[in-house]
Symmetry: C2
């Protein structure tokens, strides 16, 4: 196994192979059923086998998927994104989140004729050589023309922008701070406004990487929550409820540059994933999924906090409640987190000890209560470890 | 529109949007039906809506697609590839051909601790910044540590390898020469053997990019036709008959490096495309597709050659007959090719004036004869242009 789905990175007992999903639950190949708080690491935003998405995908598959050009659904989906996302005047589609972030950077460089990209230290923007967090097999040149700042730190961002001088092509920033193994942070309005102001002043592009957070925080893009609109946005994961799709949306000022670059892929215009995305966007709106998962996330956070207090455990929960992350105080080697998750898994709740989790529309209060009940085994298991 | 599916790059009258495909035919959104010689630019190798692949995909979709980890089909597919491809000891999966070629380069660099990649001048290896044929939005650094040689030119390859000195990580080469707008060339045994010998001598990896040619020339990989085995191979397009999938296969000597690099994607382990790939590989074998499309390709080549002679036109047909390319002598501005294809399109045959085409298992002798009949309108249309 390779990549983020490698179960070796999880506590012992976590399954590597899965058989099926249904709603907010998932089954491993040994037939064990879990309340699924990973949601396939983000893509499942409505629930496994959402009937509306399944029906749309099946119907499109009966017509055509990968043809000599796109189907009409490409236009329909682009129009829906442009309607729904205030910062979007156009859209183009890819297959991986990495395709989308890479295209954003390329478009920004083409538009500005400059090279340097400012990125927050520790942020994940994909797994291509220019952004993979593991340098094995990459070269220094892959990371040329990049400068780092601290997320939510205006002074650090200003200093980095000043250091770049005239070569600033873009500021690339995640929808919120969801770095591996550190407490999550929503963007502060001051930070978002500073990023916007620097890009305006320098004629650079503000890129929000909404691959992970997109469609869970706000229907129009994560930075709508702080009232700041990017020039380019990268989307994937939840956009088609598990179907393989990514997208870039942008402002008119970047349209020409988006036309001049050459990016493509054999399956980028396939219709089934786009039909699934149209159904997903419809259901997200119709069912107020953002509100639903926020309410359930709050229930989970409150329930875990109460149990942690009862157990006298320092449990830090951070970031948006619909994308929960919890870390234990003083758990430098993750022994506590691992033992907690391992015990909770045995009780039927699939949690992650270090990575943010995801809620979906199919989760119910009963599912959250089942997770909380399972977590009691977790709190019991870590008693001797503190 | 963007990328290779942009109809602006084709003669006027070519449709941009498609409604459906069936067997060897495709319909545009205006209801016009064509014999499809592009096969979705390669992915369709059995035919549109192949019943065996459709059934396998539907069955897997009813269970699960994108879950918290792969399904059992990942193991089954990897084992099939390793069984079928003599140079494969292991496999890993991605979503774009570019993902596969990028992973091969990264693995080679990780394995050797070196940087330089030798690539043939004009070869297409994908659309990431390091390999896109259009430099807009990329930087010089994206193409650092690359050196070029001429395909099928042993002296040029030897000279490039000598110029690299001790830093050779890999030779990256397409299954055959299928560059845009130039006559295609199958690899000569001398060239393939020289590439193999240089890699062996220098401890570098030989990478065959079989994204475009894979599964059409030889079941075990395109360079099996010249008896040379690569260390790494990149696959995509035809591997799942239109479902979104790519793969890297490699030798045991590269297994550790493949494990150390970090490449991943949200949908790389999704099961539906893998189930489709298993069915595709089964059908390819069961129906001797390589032999079928070679026979039909020969029928097309002979028929076009005969008509070209009759019309006294210099028509160059090159490369493997199952992936036909034709170019007209002296057609420097493509006026002849465009007029020919435009007229042939109106008669119901979808050809490409500059890019290689693709045959599939669903094509019949009657389809080829229909293309040949349609081509007579093409030959008539170019009469005044020569």
């Amino acid at each position: 196994m390779w990549g983020h789905l490698d179960a070796k990175k999880l506590p012992e007992g976590y399954p590597q192979f899965f058989a099926r999903g249904e709603g907010g639950h998932v089954w491993d190949v040994d037939g064990r059923r879990y309340v699924d708080l990973m949601c396939s690491w983000g893509p499942i935003v409505l629930g496994h086998h959402d009937p509306a998405v399944d029906a749309a995908a099946r119907k499109q598959a009966e017509m055509g998927d990968c043809l000599n050009g796109p189907g009409p659904v490409l236009v329909e989906l682009a129009e829906r994104l442009v309607d729904r996302i205030p910062a979007a005047d156009w859209a183009m589609f890819q297959k991986n989140g990495t395709d989308a972030t890479t295209a954003c950077v390329t478009i920004a460089r083409a538009a500005t004729g400059r090279s340097t990209i400012l990125m927050a230290r520790g942020s994940y923007h994909g797994a291509a050589p220019w952004c993979t967090p593991v340098p094995a097999g990459t070269t220094e040149a892959d990371r040329a023309h990049q400068l780092r700042f601290e997320y939510n730190d205006v002074a650090s961002l200003e200093a980095a922008a000043a250091a770049v001088g005239d070569d600033l092509a873009a500021i690339l920033v995640t929808g919120f701070r969801h770095d591996n193994i550190v407490d999550q942070e929503l963007p502060t309005p001051e930070f978002a406004q500073a990023a916007r102001a620097i890009c305006d002043r320098k004629g650079a592009a503000l890129i929000v990487d909404d691959v992970r957070a997109g469609f869970r925080l706000h229907a129009g893009g994560s930075w709508e929550t702080v009232g700041v609109r990017p020039d380019l946005s990268a989307w994937s994961k939840a956009i088609a409820n598990g179907h393989t799709l990514a997208a870039v949306t942008g402002r008119d000022s970047l349209r020409d540059a988006a036309t001049r670059i050459f990016v493509t892929g054999s399956f980028w215009c396939s219709s089934v994933a786009m039909a699934a995305a149209i159904a997903t966007l419809e259901e997200l709106e119709r069912r107020d999924v953002v509100g639903h998962i926020a309410a359930l996330g709050q229930r989970l956070r409150d329930g875990l906090a109460e149990r942690a207090r009862g157990a006298n455990v320092g449990l830090r929960q951070s970031g948006p409640v619909s994308m929960p992350l919890f870390l234990f105080d003083g758990d430098t080697d993750f022994a506590i987190g691992r033992a907690f998750c391992q015990a909770t898994l045995e009780e039927g709740a699939f949690l992650h000890p270090r990575h943010n989790m995801f809620l979906c529309a199919a989760h119910t209060e009963a599912d959250i209560d089942a997770v909380l009940a399972a977590s009691e085994a977790g709190f019991a298991a870590i008693k001797g470890l503190r």
